[in-house]
């Protein structure tokens, strides 16, 4: 009976599978596994840094500055003698926190706006989506620079800046997915049962667009990490003494020829994190919703 799904191309045969089926498919997907491992390592490192780091990231040791990697300092030390490995760990925590909140802000405002636009249609839909286009037309990082320049640098302002430019991404995606679901017959069945638009949105529309939103969230998460690193590199994001990968890159550039490892380690960390999240997003999309090919 389950084979009915296969003969029914337009329906959601594959994503209707049980949880075990989805898990089995996920483990067979190379992108998902590699992306999952990379992201998992990042999260574990960030969690460990909350309770333990090899050295303090604030205490300076000028005598032991610019050491090359050794058994005592795995990634060496920076120009103030701080342990680079410890700074990287705390930087991971910083990146995750900023990106998570920023994507949360984007989804928290964007998803309801998109769902509302799809449910109501008409002038409301037009208004919401034109504001979206307006926000979308600015390059996100550039706008984040503008906002932090106006409101002053700092982690909270960079969260707001990155978050605002995640709103249209989620609003647009939610609206598009929701419009397709609103046309389905089970929505009309819900109306025959007397459900109003709010209830239909919560019980039918959002669960059916959740998979594309989850996929997009992982990709936005990667972009937010890049944006946070970019802002911190420019000195607009995380402020000293809190370590951040972007700020480490900034400080390393003047010492590029003296101690290239100071730039290489955070640079590689950013690359691997973004790569991992993108692979995870790709893999998740294939697992949850094989009908969606590349979105972007």
């Amino acid at each position: 009976m389950a084979s009915d799904g296969a003969s029914d191309g337009a329906s959601d045969g594959a994503k209707e599978g049980g949880l075990g089926e989805v898990a089995a498919k996920a483990l067979g997907n190379r992108s998902f596994v590699i992306g999952g491992v990379l992201t998992g390592v990042l999260i574990v490192v960030a969690l460990v840094s909350l309770v333990w780091t090899p050295y303090s990231v604030i205490d300076m040791d000028i005598a032991g500055k610019l050491r090359v990697p050794s058994a005592a300092h795995w990634f060496g030390t920076d120009q103030f003698g701080r342990d680079v490995f410890s700074m990287m760990m705390v930087g991971a925590q910083n990146s995750i926190a900023v990106s998570l909140v920023a994507v949360g802000v984007g989804a928290g405002f964007g998803v309801p706006l998109g769902a509302l636009a799809a449910a109501r249609g008409g002038w409301l839909d037009e208004t919401v989506m034109r504001f979206n286009d307006f926000a979308f037309a600015f390059p996100a990082v550039l706008s984040a620079v503008m906002i932090t320049a106006l409101a002053g640098p700092g982690a909270v302002n960079s969260i707001i800046a990155i978050g605002i430019f995640n709103i249209p991404v989620f609003a647009r995606l939610t609206r598009g997915g929701a419009l397709a679901i609103w046309k389905r017959e089970f929505v009309m069945a819900a109306r025959v049962a007397g459900k109003n638009a709010v209830r239909i949105t919560v019980e039918h529309i959002l669960p059916n667009v959740a998979s594309i939103l989850i996929v997009q969230a992982t990709i936005q998460f990667a972009l937010a990490i890049l944006a946070e690193a970019g802002l911190s590199y420019l000195g607009l994001g995380t402020q000293p003494p809190q370590p951040s990968w972007g700020k480490m890159l900034n400080e390393a550039q003047t010492l590029m020829f003296l101690a290239p490892q100071l730039a290489i380690f955070p640079g590689v960390a950013i690359v691997l994190t973004v790569l991992g999240l993108n692979l995870l997003g790709d893999g998740l999309r294939d697992v949850l919703d094989p009908r969606l090919r590349r979105l972007r």
Partner: protein, 329 residues
């Protein structure tokens, strides 16, 4: 078997505004329903037939108050549905439910069957205890010959015919009086069609249901309806007892529809009434009909005369208790 009217449509008109072609001219309109009036009696099965795009589904949505008509009234159990407050309308929904065409599209893939079947119950008879709710779901599933234990499965675990029976169980759970069935079997295999149709007939007999049965499939309509209305471009062109309409169609469009049904008899083939083209309901004509003033069917009618092109025939009683909209019926 049949009694007083339970559903009465009067002069139902539904216009759709189409996207503007030019800023200066008014947006074109498409008239999906062109003044439809009919009465369905309690306990009967009333069929609506017509080719795709003739307004059948718009009619179904208007009957269930899912779509507000541009003009006209829908009176169900003596109440004008579009004059009711939102909460009274919701109260009326208990008595009218719908079965949809596509059993793959009409069940939310993310909900279990028990939740799907209980959907109208949760909304329209809120406050039932959990045990009572479970009992009602099992009872409704039993009526369509499914097991109560199927409530814990997802729709994808069922075949098309079983899914349609789940959809029927959902429609039955509030013990409605009217079921609007919009092409309920056209998405099913022929072998399964008969099974679902027989089930629907049995349910009508046992539960005293009234059906508004919409279909483009004449053989299906012939088997399950008592009376039938033939629709063309948003109007009823012929209406009467199903057996009589099929035996002696009065309107040339009905004749053409019946002749289009393939029949394994080559002798008949030569005498078919053939109709060319498609229904001329193109948006280019703002009225959504063929020539203004004339009979909408005239451009395709093999028997059309100058009178047909000039004068729109009204739906009037003809011999044999029949209504037909043709000058020559």
């Amino acid at each position: 078997m049949t009694g007083e009217p339970i559903l009465r449509l009067d002069g139902l008109v539904r216009d759709y505004v189409l996207p503007r072609r030019s800023l200066l001219r008014p947006a074109p309109r498409f008239r999906a329903l062109h003044g439809v009036s009919l009465e369905v009696r309690a306990g009967e099965s009333f069929g609506i037939v017509g080719e795709s795009g003739c307004g059948k589904s718009t009619l179904a949505r208007a009957v269930l108050a899912l779509e507000t008509p541009s003009a006209g009234t829908v009176e169900f159990m003596g109440e004008d549905l579009f004059a009711l407050s939102a909460s009274r309308l919701r109260g009326m929904r208990r008595h009218m439910q719908m079965v949809f065409q596509d059993p793959y599209g009409s069940l939310d893939p993310r909900h279990k069957v028990g939740r799907i079947v209980a959907e109208p119950l949760d909304m329209l008879e809120a406050g039932l205890g959990r045990r009572e709710r479970r009992r009602r779901v099992a009872e409704s599933l039993g009526r369509v010959r499914l097991n109560g234990s199927d409530a814990d499965k997802y729709p994808h675990e069922f075949s098309g015919g079983q899914r349609q029976r789940i959809a029927i169980a959902r429609a039955l759970i509030t013990h409605p009086r009217l079921i609007v069935a919009d092409e309920p079997v056209s998405a099913l295999d022929v072998s399964v069609q008969a099974q679902v149709l027989n089930l629907m007939s049995d349910l009508r007999r046992d539960q005293g249901l009234t059906y508004l049965f919409i279909s483009h499939d004449l053989s299906v309509v012939r088997h399950v309806t008592d009376r039938v209305a033939v629709m063309y471009l948003g109007r009823i062109v012929e209406q009467g007892e199903t057996a009589q309409v099929f035996a002696q169609p009065r309107h040339p469009y009905t004749r053409a529809l019946l002749d289009a049904v393939p029949r394994p008899d080559p002798a008949r083939f030569r005498h078919r009434h053939r109709v060319q083209g498609e229904a001329a309901a193109t948006p280019s004509e703002p009225e959504g009909t063929a020539p203004a003033g004339g009979c909408p069917f005239a451009p395709r009618c093999p028997e059309a005369t100058d009178r047909c092109r000039a004068e729109d025939p009204a739906l009037e009683p003809r011999a044999g208790g029949r209504l037909a909209a043709c000058h020559f019926a």
